[in-house]
Structure formats: C-alpha cells, structure tokens
C-alpha cells in the first residue's frame, strides 16, 4: 500500500461522491454503484482503485441525464439559513469551540507516544492509529456536542419557522464535522494509510453527536458520555475489523432520521411552562 495510491484515489472519490449527490434520471441504479466506487477509492490498493474507476464509469453511463432539480431554490435557501444558524452557534461558543480539541489532541498525543516507544509492525501501527484516530474524533464530537447543548439550548420559537427537524440536525452535524476536520488532518499526518476507516466512520459519529445535543438534558453528564461510549466501542470494533466502519457509515441515514425524530419529540417549553417565570421567588432555581 502506497500513499500515492491514496492520493490517486482522491479524484475518483470526488467524482463518485459528486455522482452520489447529483439528481440524475436513474438515481436508484447510479447511486449505489457510485457509492461503492467512493468506498473502494479510499482503499489505497491498486486492484480496488481499478474496480472503483470501472464502477465510476458504469455509474456515469447508467445515470442518464441530469434531472431538473425540483427544489433547487429550497436547497439554496436551506444552505443560506444553515450559514446564518452557524454564525449564531459560533457566536454562542466563541473560544469554547477550542476546548474540545484538547481531549482529542491528548488522545492523538498518546497514540503518537505509543507508536514512538514500541517496536510495532506496520500492521500493528495501522491498527493503533485507527483506534487512536477514531477515539480522538469521538472525543472531539462528544465535547463539542456538550458545549452546543449548554451554550445553545433549544430555541422554541425557531421551531415555528419554515425549516425541518432534519435540516436542524444536519446543520449541527455539519458544524461539528467541519470543526473536526483538523483532527482528521492530524491523523493523516501520523499515518496516512490509517485515515480511511476514520473518515468512513466520521459521518455517523458526527450525526450521533448532533443527536445527543437533543438528549443532553435527560442525563447528568449531558451529551458527553453517550458519544464517548459509542465512540469508544466504535474505535475498538474498527481497530479490530476496519471494514466495520462501512457498516457504521451505512447507519448514517438512520441516525439522521432518529436525530430528526428526537428533535421533534423535545418538549422545548416544558421548563418554562412547569415553572413559569418565578419572579420574586428566591427558591425558583432550586425547584425540582
């Protein structure tokens, strides 16, 4: 396995990912094939890379022409509203956005020390970096999700605006995901060959973290522990069998759907309705 093959896989990944999201005439046929090409293009092996190229050509040929986007104006609107929402979230977090990098960097530091102080075979190094990389991403997601839950609690009125629960969940996931990209670069610097399972399991982790923001207030430890438990379990499993990351990736739409359902089910005005505005009641904050 050579780093050059990973670099060669990048344009294939870009093209097949593009085909995955573009609205085409034969979506049902083209999308699974281009998705398979996406996965294979990250393998770093010339046989898989060749198969990925063949699959990409098949997907492109079978896709047909681009179908007119029904909701292009809706997508544009949702993108710009997501940006507006992101700017509000960044204002809420400010420098606190840096705090989740600390535990993630700590894990990556430990991974580097482990690699530097042990005589490991390339295979063992590969597994160790997968474990450390996935765990550091999970750490980052857990802590940033908690910061989001604390600094940007549910905003009841915003739920009356024309955007969907899925959109709100995805916006948070994008925000968490974009902030976690530096961690992925660091994992790549440690061992580039080990990046693909971490990248493949990245979307489900990010969506899971976005989901826990909605459930943070149900638990004493907020949003942290749920993502940590799931992230640690995922790290161990992917370290043992890297291909399991593809199974996790396949769960992303389910996590998105479940997250949207959680977002809908929140009783956002419960606290206010149960306690009203306890003006003049000095014990109001200690009420249960």
């Amino acid at each position: 396995m050579s780093p050059i093959l990973y670099l060669l896989g990048l344009p294939i990944l870009g093209l097949s990912a593009g085909l995955c999201v573009l609205p085409v005439q034969r979506n049902l046929l083209a999308k699974p094939i281009s998705f398979a090409a996406c996965i294979l293009s990250t393998s770093g092996h010339w046989i898989f890379l060749t198969i990925a190229i063949v699959l990409l050509i098949i997907a492109d040929q079978s896709a047909g022409s681009l179908s007119p986007s029904r909701k292009s104006h809706v997508s544009q609107r949702s993108l710009s509203s997501s940006l507006s929402n992101a700017s509000i979230v960044f204002r809420a977090l400010r420098l606190r956005i840096l705090f989740p990098y600390l535990p993630a960097l700590f894990v990556l530091g430990l991974t580097s020390l482990f690699l530097a102080n042990n005589a490991l075979s390339p295979h063992q190094m590969f597994r160790a970096v997968i474990f450390g990389g996935t765990l550091s991403v999970a750490m980052f997601c857990a802590f940033i999700a908690n910061s989001l839950a604390v600094r940007r609690p549910p905003w009841p009125w915003a739920r009356s605006l024309p955007w969907s629960a899925k959109q709100r969940i995805t916006t948070d996931a994008l925000l968490i995901g974009l902030s976690a990209i530096p961690i992925l670069f660091l994992v790549m610097l440690i061992k580039i060959q080990a990046i693909w399972p971490v990248v493949v399991c990245f979307p489900p982790l990010v969506f899971f973290a976005s989901l826990t923001v909605r459930r943070a207030f149900e638990y004493q430890l907020g949003a942290v522990w749920q993502t940590l438990i799931v992230g640690t379990t995922a790290s161990v499993m992917i370290c043992l069998v890297p291909l399991i990351s593809v199974v996790f990736l396949a769960m992303t739409p389910l996590l998105m759907k479940y997250g949207a359902e959680q977002e809908k089910q929140q009783k956002v005005s419960r606290w206010l309705e149960m306690h009203h505005l306890a003006a003049g009641d000095s014990l109001s904050w200690s009420r249960q």
């Binding site: 969907s164 005005s269 206010l272």
Partner: protein, 231 residues
C-alpha cells in the same frame, strides 16, 4: 385552514394539558380565551409547531405540521408571550435567518426593525435587550413576508401606545386580507370588533363558538364570560 384532529398533549406524564382536541380555525380572528393555566398558550404552541402533539395530527392547508414541516410553516407567523430568542444571536442575525427561511430579501428584515424602532439596536445580542425590545424583535420577525396564519400570544403586552395601534391595524389588515389569526389575550376590548369566532379551554377540552354575532356590548359580554371560564 388550521385543523386539529384528536390532538392530545402533556408536559409531564399522566398530566394531560389538552386531550382529544378537534378544531378548525377558519379565516378571520379567533380569540383563545380562558383562565390562567388552562392551556391557551399550549394550544398556540401546538398550532405553531413549537411543540409536537403526543397524539393526533395538526394540518395547515392540508400539510401535516410534522411531516411536511417546511410547507406547513411557510406562511406561519408566531409571536409567543415569552420572547424566547437564542441569547447569543444579534437581532440582525435572527431577522436574516427568518428572511432566508421565508425567501425574502434581508431589507425586509431591516424594514421590520425600522417599524418597531429597533434598527439602531440591530447589532446587539438578545441578552443585551430589555424584555420589551425582545418582544418587539419577535414581532418584527412576524412582519417579514406575507403570513396567512398568524398566531399571537398577548400581542399588546409591554408595547407602547403607538406600537399597540400599529399592531392593531396590522392585524386588521391581515384579517381583511383573509388570513387566519389566532390570538390569546387577556385584554379583550381592542379585539372585540375583529373577532369572528372564539375558543375556550376547560379541563383540557376546547369549546368552539363559531359565530360571534351581536352588537359590540353583547360580543364583549360573551368574550368576557369565556375569559373567566364561564361556559
């Protein structure tokens, strides 16, 4: 038309606030009346999509509020009693968000702020505003676009006299244009002439008075009784 079909809702388990609600809100002004804590604001939150019913469904123009979320909320404007705006956003950011979601230019947002005398405060965050200013900011958001479903919870509370008059004429304009306006207010008098139907809530059930007719004194007497919980 906003339609409630067998809607039930509770904040805590085994303590239903509303149950088995079947209602249709027709164009015109509907007053939601009843004593404190009977569930008027909760009904408004359910109609606006802030809270999701435990059972039953709510449709706006035939779109399910929790299935076709975007379509159902497209022409909806909700002004809550408590202006629960996210504290770290500036007024400009909130209005920009609303403009983008309603497909309106951001100038519309600034015009709405101008209307409520908040233009100079646009770059302030919500936590730097007084309660009255926050309420005006939420109302400014309601002015953006051409809402056909307007849900107002105590719209005149905390507003100065000029803005009260402006709000009343804004409501009048929308009622005349055929909008569905649902209003919760303990101040009944300013809305008596505009009211076409009334709803009161007692023990979690809603009672609809579809045609409020008669002279203003008779209408006021009926609405006053409903507000006191006398059915």
């Amino acid at each position: 038309m906003i339609r409630f079909q067998n809607v039930s809702f509770s904040y805590e388990k085994d303590a239903p606030v509303l149950f088995g609600i079947d209602l249709e809100f027709q164009p015109g002004l509907t007053m939601l009346l009843g004593p404190n804590g009977c569930g008027k604001s909760t009904l408004l939150k359910l109609a606006s999509g802030v809270e999701k019913p435990d059972t039953g469904r709510i449709t706006i123009d035939g779109h399910d509020l929790w299935q076709d979320e975007v379509e159902a909320r497209q022409s909806l404007a909700y002004v809550p009693e408590q202006p629960d705006l996210t504290p770290y956003a500036t007024i400009r950011e909130i209005l920009n968000l609303v403009c983008r979601l309603r497909n309106e230019s951001s100038e519309k947002g600034m015009d709405a702020l101008e209307f409520f005398g908040l233009r100079d405060l646009a770059s302030r965050t919500v936590r730097e505003l007084s309660l009255g200013q926050r309420r005006r900011a939420v109302f400014a958001a309601a002015l953006i676009g051409t809402p056909r479903y307007i849900l107002l919870d105590e719209p005149l509370e905390g507003m100065d006299r000029k803005i009260k008059d402006d709000i009343l004429s804004w409501i009048q304009r929308h009622v005349d244009a055929g909008a569905v306006v649902i209003l919760v207010s303990h101040t009944i008098e300013p809305f008596v002439d505009l009211t076409s139907q009334a709803i009161t809530i007692k023990d979690g059930s809603a009672f609809l008075y579809p045609k409020i007719a008669g002279n203003p004194e008779q209408k006021l007497a009926l609405l006053d009784n409903l507000a006191k919980g006398i059915i």
